[in-house]
Symmetry: C2
Subunit: 304 residues, 2 copies
């Protein structure tokens, strides 16, 4: 299934959809809290080993900023919280949670399952992009989301973007996501890994954004508990694997040439997010919070 196709999702909305919405949003917030704590612990551990290169920076701390989504008619439309840290390991990392609702614009509704006849939607998600200071520490993205129209489905994934590819990091990252998938369905990892490679691809450059991971959308197997558990497993797999990849490299030095490669790779990251990313398009078309949507953009990027 490619990103361009709109599937016919099988299941009707369950009677307990409101409880499922609330549980999913609460889980996004709790995952955010644990990720922020884990990343702040890395900032503490790192010390000022790279002070000569990046200056004597204090351990970073997340700053949380709540936002409300403006509604054309002044009605409640949801909102979210951005959490942003600028630290000595993480040059810029944003973790957003949001739960928004409203009506899709007619043009947009046509492409969304369950929104043809009734454009109302509810969506909750957690979205993370980390741009490390060190070119030896890979950048990463993770997102899971639950979207409810007259249908309901989960989507998400995680992918790794090293500036200096490292076979052990890639293998470790893919293995963690495979383990999460395999507990649910052994066919999912090959399918969602291929979908990720297909999605995070820059056709104009004929190049991948990074080394991939998994990407999935429109997940509605008919067992809503299991689908929700899978989305949680993806978040847990990310939290289980990425901090170790950071710790593997965060004391290594780097060269000016390594930094130049990183800034170019980040330029490609910005190209992907602005030219192609569906989450960015979704956010900008649904009057999302611009600072939250574009928090994924790199702190510094080069097109030399």
């Amino acid at each position: 299934m490619s990103a361009a196709e709109k599937p016919n999702l099988p299941s009707p909305l369950p009677a307990d959809i409101d409880a499922r919405k609330a549980a999913t949003s609460a889980w996004h917030e709790s995952l955010r809290d644990r990720i922020c704590a884990a990343f702040e612990a890395i900032e503490d551990e790192a010390g000022d080993v790279h002070a000569a290169r990046i200056g004597p920076l204090a351990a970073g701390r997340f700053v949380r900023t709540p936002w409300r989504r403006p509604s054309p008619d002044g009605a409640e439309a949801g909102g979210g919280v951005t959490a942003m840290m600028k630290g000595r390991v993480f040059e810029k990392v944003g973790v957003n949670v949001s739960a928004v609702h409203g009506r899709f614009a007619p043009e947009f509704a046509k492409a969304i399952p369950g929104a043809d006849a009734d454009p109302r939607f509810w969506a909750s998600g957690i979205s993370l992009v980390a741009h490390p200071q060190s070119p030896r520490v890979p950048a990463v993205h993770m997102n899971t989301r639950f979207i409810v129209t007259q249908k309901a489905w989960f989507g998400g994934g995680s992918d790794l973007t090293p500036s200096l590819p490292d076979a052990v990091d890639s293998a470790t990252f893919h293995a963690a996501l495979k383990a999460a998938c395999d507990r649910f369905d052994p066919s999912w990892h090959p399918r969602f890994k291929a979908w990720c490679d297909d999605y995070f691809y820059l056709p104009h450059r004929k190049e991948a954004r990074g080394v991939g991971g998994i990407f999935f959308d429109w997940l509605d197997t008919g067992d809503r508990d299991r689908d929700a558990a899978f989305a949680r497993a993806v978040g847990e797999a990310f939290l289980g694997v990425y901090p170790g990849i950071v710790r593997r490299h965060f004391r290594e030095g780097w060269s000016d040439d390594d930094r130049r490669r990183q800034l170019v790779r980040r330029g490609r990251y910005a190209e992907f997010n602005l030219l192609y990313d569906r989450g960015t398009q979704f956010g900008l078309k649904t009057d999302g919070n611009v600072e939250a949507i574009l928090m994924s953009l790199p702190p510094l990027a080069a097109w030399p």
Copy 2:
């Protein structure tokens, strides 16, 4: 007329269309030569006044790289020449000329005047984006183009993007473009200036890309000599005014905060070009040269 509308152009193709194509392409090349010479002269004049900040750089020189447009069936499809300079006044400046031809993809053809029934096109243009080292020197864009389907029209414009807006620079720039317009039609400058403000606008930021200039498209007044002369006048106005604006500021010092503002402004520039710019979309959809199309992206940009 907004950018979204597709006009009905009045004039049939003239019998001498091939001669007009050749003359326009030749003029694009000659303007490119004069602009490159003017910018290299500025590089020579600047000396190493900013060596303490940017390093002891030699005067920049343009490097020209010809490219051929790949054609699906191996037939001739045109090409162009990128001219790129990385200097001590111009951190990155690209001047592209191209003359390409082929067939629009069906989806794209529908939106193009004169291409509904016959998707063949020919297009020649000159396109320039300059990102100066100094935040006190404004960035600038200039483009003129001649497009031929079963209709033919000119388009183009020029706009100024200061990091630190300066009223004299803005007034000087707008006055030069107004003078160029007024020699043809006194209604054009207000119309093309408003079109520029409308076009170079980031709706998601609710902010302008810069201080504007002029933008025009689908110019077909029925007098093809006059239309071509106007496109040339826009190029001449740019060459007449921008070097003076550079010279007004190129010896001034700047602060770290000035540089930070410049890098953020450049991030917005990248957002505009990747999210909205019609020339970028046109290029990527017609298999243009990626390096040429994205040469407009800033050498370094920040999303802090």
